[in-house]
Amino acid sequence: MNAELLRALDLATARDWAGAKAALLHVDDPVATRLAGVIADLDHRDEARRRSTADLRHEIGNALTIVQANLEGVIDGVLEPTKERLAGMRDALAAAGAALENFGRS
């Protein structure tokens, strides 16, 4: 196995997908071509995972902010404890729960 292939494997292990692809760019070898395909696929999956984690974080962060800010507001006497406000908090938690459930399925 030549040096470029070993280097590409090391970079892929470190999740440096761009570096791994670059290391294989000028290697004319069937193993290198197959490896480049695997690395491209891993890169794609890694990006999708990062995106869905960020989306989940956004959904849960918003929901928890709605609940925390409104509960604090009611406790501090800044906001009225209305039925609508309670319903808004319940809906925010439900949306966070749904996002979490979808994340587990993806």
Binding site: I66, Q68, A69, N70, L79, G88, A92
Partner: protein, 237 residues
């Protein structure tokens, strides 16, 4: 002169429940609050109200809070901004000053914490703009403190022992750092009843210099403006 109008805060977030809570807390603290839920509405509101500070959610239905930051900064006016984000991956860009935000708060957050950040960023912006900094009701310029409540002047924390007349003169100058006053204008600003004359004003200034200046011959605070009168040193920018 000091700016007594309410400080305006523009809150941009597409979650009405978050906006409501932030608005309630900020209004309780004496801020005038405008809100927007989209990028387009935020830019329109920004032009209309000219806020003193913006609270910007990064993720909006029609764009990003970062776009608002770019658009409002390219107008040549620099409005302090605090970013609100649930996305940890954005924090490095915000903190790295790449985008020019002054601070950030990650979701979930406490509205009390946001109000504290708003105050801190506004204070920094005022200092940077050359406004007199106030600690409690004291005007602070370098090591000099003019404590309006205690009617006392301190240098590096030590009472300078100024007289009532000297205090009045120093207060007017300290409230307007960098602004030159003619002797007549200074007497006018003091609302003087005739007890201070232009020629005795010079003597009061000399006495003040002996009490507050490290070297009265080379003043660090009370400058003579030749042909005009006097001024207090401007705050560092």
């Amino acid at each position: 002169m000091t700016d007594n109008r309410l400080k305006r805060v523009l809150v941009v977030d597409d979650e009405p429940e978050i906006v409501d809570a932030l608005r309630a807390y900020l209004e309780r603290e004496g801020f005038e609050v405008s809100v927007a839920g989209t990028l387009a509405a935020a830019l329109e509101t920004f032009r209309r109200v000219e806020p003193d500070l913006m609270l910007l959610d990064i993720t909006l239905p029609d764009g990003s809070g970062l776009d608002i930051l770019r658009a409002t900064q390219s107008d040549g006016r620099r409005t302090p901004a605090i970013m609100l984000t649930a996305r940890a991956e954005e924090v490095d860009r915000i903190v790295g000053l790449e985008l020019g935000a002054d601070d950030y708060v990650t979701k979930p957050f406490s509205p009390r914490e946001v109000v504290a950040r708003v105050r801190a960023v506004m204070r920094r912006a005022e200092v940077a703009a050359g406004a007199p900094r106030r600690a409690g009701n004291a005007i602070v310029i370098k090591d000099l403190e003019v404590d309006v409540d205690a009617h006392e002047v301190r240098v590096s924390g030590r009472d300078a022992g100024v007289t009532a007349t000297e205090f009045r003169i120093l207060r007017v100058l300290a409230e307007n750092p960098g602004q030159a006053f003619s002797r007549a204008a200074l007497l006018d600003a003091l609302h003087d009843d005739g007890s201070i004359f232009e020629r005795t004003l010079d003597r009061h200034i000399n006495n003040l210099r002996k009490k507050i200046e490290p070297d009265p011959e080379n003043p660090e605070y009370l400058y003579t403006v030749y042909g005009v009168g006097y001024k207090m040193r401007a705050r560092e920018r």
